[in-house]
Assembly symmetry: C2
Amino acid sequence: MTPAPAKKPAERPYHHGDLRRAVLTAALDVIAADGPSRLSLRDLARRAGVSHAAPAHHFKDRTGLLTAIAAEGFGLLAAELAEAEDLKDAGVHYVRFAREHPAHFQVMFTPELLRADDLELTTARALAGDALRGAVASVRPDELGIDPRLAGVAAWSLAHGFATLLLGRNLDDPIGNQDPEDVFRTLAAMLFRRDA
Amino acid sequence: MTPAPAKKPAERPYHHGDLRRAVLTAALDVIAADGPSRLSLRDLARRAGVSHAAPAHHFKDRTGLLTAIAAEGFGLLAAELAEAEDLKDAGVHYVRFAREHPAHFQVMFTPELLRADDLELTTARALAGDALRGAVASVRPDELGIDPRLAGVAAWSLAHGFATLLLGRNLDDPIGNQDPEDVFRTLAAMLFRRDA
DNA sequence: CTCCCAACTTGTCAACGACTAGATTCCGCG
DNA sequence: CGCGGAATCTAGTCGTTGACAAGTTGGGAG
């Protein structure tokens, strides 16, 4: 039997074709523009040209939609971190991810919007966690001189804080129009410089 | 006809007394427990024992309430930072503030929930910004060896990221049951250790 | 071809934010 | 003391939303 990948061959008959993806994409637009609070399932349905209850069939409810977005985000983050060459570079990729997927990033770290026990979410998050720990392990222990677990927390905190403040437009003044990734490289160098 | 028999010592008079403070406090409870998204003006009114439209008189609308909370938060943060002795200590106080006022902290850095041009908010934020810059200025330039503005960004990013991840319960595994402030002191030491 | 089931629709309900008009109480000022 | 304006709170309403229930459509497996 053909697996029937079910791409979208039709315009918009009774069946939308790929409503799930359409709703996800529209949701990401709304969140990036106005935040998760202004997200409305009915609005997404309108944008997709379907009835007001159609999205619920794919995501159960609002929380389900946001959980799906977070899970997708952790998958994308894991892929991004996998490309990093060392811990400092992982931070750069972390910041890049936040800037390229601001909606995902925002939802991923707003736990009260998510179904914490969702399987897809927890596995995707674990994947991203593995990627981070892998980056930490790539540093020779004598290079940082402290518990590698704390080094991971330090790197994560610095990257997460920088990314969060950046997305919240809190760093516009201090860093002006410099490339954020370059600025972050400087910060990371402060954290991981070897003692002479 | 005398009104209904008084059930409790303080049967609700027509005027609440300090509804503004009561609504603020209740809102902080709700936000700390369930996040700003589950905040409902009508629910707060019920908790305070007033009609569903009463809170709007003090805060105009939902955004007004959240803006008032953020402004109060920046004031509290400025006071907390003013007690710091140096930049590293300012970070410790920043983390302490986030733990002691999680609801304020969350709202302060969720700009899409706030009225950005609100006067009280902008002045309070400026106050906190001054406090942070003051802490940065307390460091002798040769001690960090880089642009002091970037040092401020680094310190803020580290403290903000650590606090954010902490409140989101993302660091439960890595730091176990250690005192978060102690952990942060270690991280800050990484950032600001002098070369050689 | 038939039947099953996922995708989608229509209808409904309670809750909410926002707005309006009106009632009650407080307080400054004469 | 009392008067009048203003602050505070109530009551009613409207449009929107999330969630749910029940019915409809159509594609595809057998």
